[in-house]
Symmetry: D2
Subunit: 157 residues, 4 copies
């Protein structure tokens, strides 16, 4: 059955399973944008309710952080044959410049090292290109012993 799905459909389905796990991610309106094993991208559209400062109309830093945190989780998910419950161990975010009002923000991430216990990730938030980032981030996630929530049948090519 999976063969009849286009890669785009497969990806969208995989993201829905991942995103559906998190009510908060749905509430923020995080959307899948593109995926490769070495660069998973989510998107958040500009909305007035996500603004940090009404004078500048710049998105709240917490939205950028939540976007990157979700992209981190997704980038680990696509590297594994099966989803394993995990928890953010720590995050560091550097904010380089304000997001531009009215523009969607992309959050891209790669899991660059996997051990049996840990996943190391890095990524950035941007409008057009990761080479002109709004924020950069690194983090470590730890696999926990909780029950498996979802299966990840397909891996990105």
């Amino acid at each position: 059955m999976a063969e009849t799905m286009s890669p785009e459909e497969e990806f969208a389905q995989r993201w829905r399973k991942f995103a559906d796990v998190s009510p908060y991610n749905r509430e923020l309106g995080l959307l899948p944008h593109s995926v490769r094993p070495d660069w998973c991208v989510l998107k958040v559209d500009y909305k007035d309710g996500l603004v940090g400062d009404p004078n500048t109309r710049v998105l709240h830093g917490g939205v950028i952080t939540a976007l990157l945190d979700a992209a981190f989780g997704f980038s680990i998910f696509v590297k594994m044959p099966q989803f394993r419950p995990m928890a953010t161990l720590d995050l560091r975010i550097d904010y380089l410049r304000p997001a531009t009002p009215d523009k969607a923000v992309l959050g891209g991430a790669v899991c660059y090292k996997l051990t049996p216990d840990l996943a190391f990730v890095r990524g950035c938030a941007y409008h057009e290109s990761p080479d002109d980032p709004i924020a950069t981030a690194v983090g470590i996630y730890m696999f926990t012993s909780g029950s498996t929530v979802i299966q990840n049948e397909e891996r990105p090519r």
Copy 2:
């Protein structure tokens, strides 16, 4: 006129001015809890829409981060005679354990060093006591040259 306000009223008013700056903080439902110059505490009530994982019903890490980011900003604000526009330069958050479902989370912070350009802060998120933290965090904020948004007439005692 200010003399006729109780310290609690003054604090609540100061927080409203600060919180009103951020639509996203309002959307998260961040509430003032208590304030001292060396420990400013905000609160976020448990809500299903803020859950990260419906299996465990644990609050999303992004909510904890947004709570701490707001508490950091507030802890800087209460140290200054006048609000100066500032931007988060970087944040590091360590997650020690999951938040307990159905419980409110408190986010406490202190600005432990102020320079003309920078504010250094630290804090933690917890249920009952900062000695049993859910997450700890440190950050640096940079004052920007934007226009002043609000006045901070009173300082906490």
Copy 3:
């Protein structure tokens, strides 16, 4: 035999065992200063060979980092009945002001959370008081499965 040792002698002996593990710590000249379960302090004396910038004669940031890294390890060591091999998983250091030339620098640390796998620590470097820090730091250490190097018979009171 241990009963005939003063607490100071016991502490000095414990530190020697810990410090002897690391040739680099010896080369830097890291010395024990004081220890409590919740605040372990090491010291590095000012030496021309540890200077970062000869114009200002300020100690190199790398020395401060190594001092804090060692104090972190020691603060975990004193919390455990037996030494377990561990590795630094990550560190964050914030530099608040330059060290003063010709003055020794103290590095204090506390392990504020221990799990079976991880130790969470925080600390700071200072001259006179931790309330006027030169640098602050947080880190996470992971226990590894290597063989036990030293025994820690006594715990600080």
Copy 4:
């Protein structure tokens, strides 16, 4: 006169000026390895005096940190027409695996964003390839108002 120097000689000269600023970097034996505007590499040779644990003979984490800190400074230096005094504002280092005994460690870095006040850098330590890192790091440096120590006449091509 500069035209008669090979690019390699120019680079070595530039590094000597930079490295000579720091007695501690000389003491560690940090050597120039290669330079491009987007990837500056320093090297530290394996020496018994830099070992952290004599059982495993692994280099001390503080040496890796000092190597990366120096590479960060150098990567900023090569991006600027003239050296400006700067201070490390903060650093985060993630340790992915132990360094292999008897092998030199390379530390590569890029300054990926420069503002009038700040330089944002990232890099990693490795033996053969940055794709198999021993440690990764990010940091922010702040330009200070101190006097200029050295001139950087040439910029890498």
